[in-house]
């Protein structure tokens, strides 16, 4: 990292530590509060939700590296707020017409716009009906971006306080929530988004969300491994530090290789921010980071032995948060399909050897 990204990472690290770090994630989970409004407002003040919004539209005008740096810092301290989701939505809002006030609210933190793309909403007889697949953190959103397919298909903003909006919400293992969005309401409540090639822009929202989630997972895995490494160095069994056992050393080396290589991949993906390659790159990042984060956090629990399986130890929080973050990406199969599709239909192919 160099420059803006390391500044963002440092300030995020300091801020997140100040407001409680990993202990905050535990406290929020235990209190059944999925959302820390105070923290959210402070994050807004730091400019995070406008991170990649052009300066002329009120944002910080930064790019992929800064997004990755911020998300890694959030993952390292298990901050569960929908920061990645907000940033992803801002990418579309800042390009659409007539949505500048909503964008301002997003940047200010007073609106949270979720992207609900894996869904089947239909417009017929002036009413919008349909349901989505489960979406992580949707319960915190004030608005949803949805796509209506079929005739008169378009992208719309739905205020979630409207009558006819129903969220079917379930708790996740880490204190977040996941919700299906059920709609049965008049189309007049929706605002149609006016912009060129809105479907492409919507794909871009998903790509940014995927890249953000992948970076979050790298930060999370890296922090979990730091804890496990410390444990390997200090915990003794049979009279010696367990980190002196070669079998564990080699497995720790494997964990290092997994984290370091996926981090390198995501750094490459960050470079594609704002280019056509982002679709393929973010799908690759999400696939690689998901598999890596599960493998790493499970192995870190195993390194801890019984204490790793106790809720009172932090190490288990990392696996559980990895689970909900991966849930936000969808399933591995569709992510691989997305990669194949994006890597082969883009005007520039990702791999020129294909």
């Amino acid at each position: 990292m160099s420059g803006d990204d390391s500044m963002i990472a440092d300030s995020a690290r300091i801020f997140l530590s100040r407001i409680g770090g990993v202990a905050r994630a535990r406290k929020l989970r235990d209190s059944g509060m999925a959302f820390d409004a105070g923290a959210w407002n402070e994050m807004a003040k730091l400019g995070w939700f406008g991170l990649v919004v052009p300066e002329e539209a009120g944002g910080l005008g930064l790019g992929g590296h800064e997004l990755v740096a911020l998300m890694e810092a959030l993952g390292a301290q298990l901050a569960g707020e929908p920061v990645g989701e907000s940033i992803a939505a801002s990418v579309l809002l800042s390009r659409a017409e007539g949505l500048s006030s909503l964008l301002e609210e997003v940047i200010a933190g007073s609106a949270i716009v979720a992207s609900v793309l894996d869904a089947s909403f239909k417009l017929a007889g002036g009413r919008v009906r349909g349901a989505s697949r489960p979406v992580v953190n949707l319960a915190q959103a004030t608005h949803a971006l949805i796509e209506i397919t079929g005739e008169n298909g378009a992208v719309y903003v739905v205020p979630l306080k409207s009558a006819g909006v129903e969220l079917r919400t379930q708790a996740t293992v880490d204190g977040r929530t996941v919700s299906e969005l059920h709609l049965d309401l008049s189309s007049e409540v929706l605002s149609r988004i006016e912009m060129q090639n809105v479907s492409l822009a919507l794909g871009n929202v998903q790509a940014v969300a995927r890249l953000a989630a992948a970076a979050y997972l790298v930060g999370l895995a890296d922090a979990a491994f730091a804890i496990a490494l410390e444990y390997l160095k200090t915990r003794k069994q049979f009279g010696v530090a367990i980190g002196s056992f070669q079998a564990l050393q080699h497995r720790a080396a494997t964990v290092f290789v997994r984290i370091a290589s996926v981090r390198a991949l995501i750094s490459e993906c960050a470079r594609t921010f704002g280019t056509e390659r982002l679709d393929a790159a973010s799908a690759a990042a999400a696939c690689a980071a998901s598999a890596m984060a599960l493998q790493v956090t499970k192995e870190c629990i195993q390194f801890h032995g019984a204490i790793g399986f106790a809720d009172e130890h932090d190490i288990g929080l990392y696996l559980r948060r990895a689970m909900s973050t991966i849930a936000s990406i969808g399933d591995a199969g569709s992510c691989l399909d997305a990669f194949s599709k994006a890597a082969s239909v883009g005007t520039e192919k990702i791999s020129s050897t294909a």
Partner: protein, 385 residues
């Protein structure tokens, strides 16, 4: 199971299946968490009344004396109907140990109570400083007159807060680190001086507890074997214990969850997922086969010491592989905490996945089991840890 059934076994399976259907209450089916003993006791008692609570115990001690095939049929039918987990420390661990090394009085008192469910047991081996290194027990047990007086602490005591009896290792001279000087005692958990603190697990249940001993006086008649000779007692049935951990029951349950999640998420007819399911089914049949083989080798005295470690590794890792698939099949629902309770049976997306982390840790971590295999079965010497 792949093994062809005799007509008698097929009849037994049919009997088990219909009896389970008739006797297992609906609200106890397809539970994902292990219910607390008081909740599962109705089922435990029903199995007891029917003579099926201890399939692997000999008839002479009140068990069912079941064949290996009958045991597997019971596992398969239990997984099929989603029968709840029941306390096993008595049935699988201290019961068989007392049959072999207990005094006639200990046997007469405890074995019937284990069968009836009156005696619920926990194991007091692990301590804060000794997870894998059992021989480093520090809890003190001092003989004073006709009693052994215990001070110290146990941890990771599975279901310690539900148990009314514990079998534990204590040592006369604390600080000494060796295998002699350890005493194996049976403790009534209602004895004065015992405090328990449940430990919540990453799966959200109270699987374990910590147990503190403050001048807990236990009559010497509750010592198994001789005072200071407890290490031999504790290790005499390690193979038997690992075989009980390595039954196909857990992998079969994991498979049931995989099928349920695939069905819930519309993957049952997806070829890729069908192949993954087939691979998992084959892996479970491998566990069943290995279980049969281990039982036979131990019964005929053909097993190498430590060979049972292989069964523990196999059964736990096959289970973990299958719940990895459960997670992947769950997709956007993978983190959902509470199993869905729709019109269908409960569908668990995350619980068994999280619970299964312990499988490679408890009962002697799989790292320890691999070291045992290397040294005792493969003859790889000079283990440099």
């Amino acid at each position: 199971m792949i093994r062809p059934e005799t007509a008698q076994e097929t009849a037994f399976r049919a009997e088990v299946r219909s009896w389970f259907e008739a006797n297992l209450q609906q609200h106890l089916r397809n539970l994902t968490f292990r219910p607390a003993p008081k909740e599962s006791m109705a089922w435990y008692g029903a199995l007891y009344e029917n003579g099926w609570i201890a399939p692997h115990w000999p008839k002479s001690f009140g068990g069912m004396g079941a064949s290996a095939e009958e045991q597997v049929i019971l596992f398969e039918e239990s997984a099929r109907i989603g029968a709840p987990d029941i306390p096993t420390q008595g049935l699988n661990h201290i019961g068989p140990l007392l049959m072999k090394l207990g005094t006639p009085r200990q046997q007469a008192f405890h074995l019937p109570r284990i069968l009836s469910g009156e005696g619920v047991w926990c194991q007091g081996y692990s301590e804060p400083g000794s997870g894998s290194d059992l021989a480093s027990v520090q809890t003190r047990g001092e003989v004073r007159g006709g009693e052994i007086v215990i001070n110290g602490q146990k941890i990771w005591t599975t279901w310690g807060h539900h148990a009314n009896w514990m079998y534990a290792l204590v040592r006369a001279i604390p600080g000494e680190k060796k295998k002699n000087g350890i005493t194996f005692v049976l403790l009534d958990m209602n004895t004065k001086g015992i405090t328990r603190r449940p430990i919540r697990t990453i799966a959200g249940d109270d699987e374990f507890c910590e147990v503190f001993f403050d001048d807990v006086a236990v009559p010497l008649s509750n010592v198994v074997g001789e005072v200071d000779q407890g290490w031999r007692v504790a290790t005499s049935l390690l193979d038997e214990e690992r075989i009980r951990i390595g039954t196909p029951l857990l992998p079969l349950r994991a498979l049931a969850r995989l099928r349920a999640v695939m069905k819930h998420n519309g993957l049952s007819n997806d070829r890729e997922w069908q192949r993954r399911l087939a691979r998992s089914e084959i892996a479970v049949e491998t566990v069943t086969a290995a279980y049969f083989q281990c039982l036979e080798r131990f019964e005929t005295g053909n097993a190498a010491g430590g060979e049972s470690s292989y069964l523990k590794i196999l059964a736990t890792e096959v289970t973990q592989d299958i719940v990895d698939l459960v997670q992947e099949a769950a997709g956007p629902l993978r983190a959902v905490k509470v199993p869905s309770a729709g019109s269908d049976a409960r569908v668990d997306f995350s619980e068994m996945y999280l619970q299964s982390r312990r499988l490679s840790i408890y009962g002697g971590s799989n790292e320890i089991q691999r070291s045992i295999l290397a040294a005792q079965v493969l003859g790889l010497q000079g283990a440099r840890r």
